[in-house]
């Protein structure tokens, strides 16, 4: 099939390629050496979910809305002493177990979004790879530890 486009001069492509090589040879690379240098992820990056056990009321909304059902929650009611003298003792839900299986998690963020009491937060931290799949199940303590890595939400565009 005859081509309507102008044929190029022989070896022009090669010369152009070599020109690019020369140009980039003296430029700084855009990549970073990962374990030695690290890029700072954006504050909204969905890296790992942190749990605030104080805020959690064991309402199970997150576990119910999770598309992968990777959140395991167990809790019990604890009787708290009355707030006022002679008042009634109040029941307060307490967490026994709050596990997220990151081997199943698809990082959609629905649990964080549906939490009505602000107990779950996204943290951009992502360096928690494990040798075994069982290590991906983060228990309550580990999830609480992530809380320290939760950044301030970024300022918004006016």
């Amino acid at each position: 099939m005859a081509n309507a486009r102008p044929n190029t001069f022989p070896f022009r492509g090669l010369a152009k390629g070599l020109k690019v090589t020369l140009k980039t040879l003296f430029k700084r690379p855009v990549t970073v050496h990962y374990p030695l240098e690290k890029e700072v992820p954006v504050p909204r990056a969905r890296g790992v979910i942190a749990l605030d056990t104080e805020a959690c009321t064991v309402c199970m909304l997150c576990a119910r809305e999770c598309p992968d059902w990777c959140i395991y929650i167990e809790g019990h009611k604890e009787m708290m002493p009355p707030a006022k003298e002679g008042g009634r003792a109040r029941a307060r839900a307490t967490l026994d177990r709050f596990d997220i299986d990151y081997a199943l998690c698809m990082y959609c963020g629905i649990c964080v979004e549906v939490c009505p009491f602000d107990a779950l937060f996204w943290s951009p931290d992502h360096e928690y790879s494990e040798y075994g799949i069982d290590g991906m199940l983060h228990d309550m303590d580990r999830l609480t530890d992530w809380l320290a890595t939760v950044p301030e939400p970024p300022p918004l565009e006016a």
Binding site: N7, V30, R44, A45, Y107, E113, L156
Partner: protein, 397 residues
């Protein structure tokens, strides 16, 4: 004993040789993999020497059953699924789905949300086409364009991540707008997830860089004589065949049909934006490449105009907290980077869809393979398959 090829038989009678030649066809299994690892595909090719006589694509290796999964998941959960269909343009996959649900619920997203959707869809288009710009020359033996294209693609993905929190799977669209708040709780309720500060300026800068890298690619790839020799006149899809096989997107436009759902359907505010629909003439591999390169430029143009025009206002329409979609059915299609992506949703009321049918672009684009690969050479097979730019996740769902 195979049938003698009539062409061979003709020569045999000329030479008056009485031996019966056996020329058995070889069945060549290509795969199960894609030469550029966009997923897993198997091609069963019947080859005669270097010539491909017939090809049968065997699909289904990436089947994840999303249509069935959607039947047992709420609408909000399905949004997280659909951006995994065509994983190189996750954001663009969500658009037709949420708009189909919005149509059923009779709500409309506020204008600012629609602009954010449009900007991020075009960014997804650029990132998807930049993958093509890097993988396609790579399949033909040029490694340098990959470095240039991926550098800019990383910039785009970082912008998408800055807004949505996810590079590949944004999960940012919600019925009636975009993702409201990080936690819906009382403390952060006011913290609407609007664009982060500086995003619009960063988008402008990124578009300048994208346009520069388009020129670089033009310089490196388009004019390259090896690239031209491998692509011009190879894998020609005439206009009528393209329509017959239901091609869509850049593959259809390369065959000279200027059909683009961004202009044909009014689901995002493309009306006020000035952009062109690039079309090809010959429908060969080179045209499919040129059309995609031109589309990156047009997408950059759209974003440049959209960031200047983005109105302020709310991001969410009033939608009940527990989404219950009234009974009915809706089909909404939108222009995915690969072509027409549509969702047909049947609702019987309640929180989960009764049925979701996904019309994905790559599936239809791949259906032309047996026709287009007939009587081609094996080295051209890779060039043709790469030029169709399908993602196997989009084929198998």
């Amino acid at each position: 004993m195979t049938q003698l090829d009539p062409r061979v038989a003709m020569h045999l009678s000329d030479a008056a040789v009485s031996v019966e030649l056996e020329t058995p066809d070889m069945t060549l299994n290509i795969g199960p993999q894609h030469p550029s690892t966009h997923g897993v595909l198997r091609l069963v090719a019947r080859v005669d020497g270097e010539r491909v006589e017939a090809v049968e694509p065997v699909i289904g290796y990436m089947h994840r059953g999303y249509e069935k999964l959607a039947e047992v998941r709420t609408y909000a959960q399905t949004i997280a699924l659909v951006n995994r269909i065509d994983w190189v343009s996750g954001f663009a996959n969500e658009i037709p789905f949420v708009i189909a649900v919005e149509k059923l619920m009779d709500v409309e997203a506020p204008e600012r949300a629609q602009y954010i959707r449009m900007i991020l869809t075009e960014m997804a288009r650029i990132s998807s086409h930049l993958i093509f710009m890097s993988s396609y020359p790579l399949e033909l033996g040029a490694a340098t364009p990959l470095m240039h294209a991926f550098r800019e693609r990383e910039r785009i993905l970082e912008l998408i991540e800055g807004v949505t929190g996810g590079r590949f799977h944004p999960n940012f669209n919600r019925v009636g707008g975009v993702k409201p708040a990080a936690g819906g709780g009382s403390a952060t309720k006011k913290l609407i997830q609007d664009l982060p500060a500086g995003f619009l300026q960063q988008a402008r800068d990124a578009m300048d860089k994208v346009l520069t890298v388009c020129d670089d690619l033009d310089d490196l790839v388009t004019g390259n004589e090896v690239f031209q020799a491998r692509t011009i006149g190879v894998g020609v899809v005439p206009r009528d065949k393209a329509l017959e096989y239901g091609l869509s997107g850049p593959n259809l436009r390369a065959s000279g049909v200027g059909f683009d759902l961004r202009k044909a359907e009014h689901i995002l505010p493309y009306d006020g934006i000035d952009f062109e629909i690039p079309t090809g003439e010959n429908g060969d591999c080179f045209d499919r490449y040129i059309v995609r390169l031109a589309e990156i430029r047009q997408a950059a143009r759209i974003i440049q105009q959209a960031v200047d025009r983005i109105p302020s206002g709310p991001l969410q329409a009033k939608v009940p907290r527990v989404l219950k979609v009234p009974p009915g059915q809706a089909y909404v299609r939108a222009e995915n980077p690969k072509g027409e992506m549509g969702y047909y949703i049947v609702s019987e009321g309640g929180r989960v869809p009764y049925r979701v049918k996904i019309r994905s672009a790559s599936f239809s684009n791949l259906s032309i393979l047996p026709w287009i690969l007939e009587n081609q050479l094996i080295p051209d097979l890779v060039a043709i398959m790469g030029s169709l730019d399908f993602v196997l996740g989009d084929v198998d769902r």
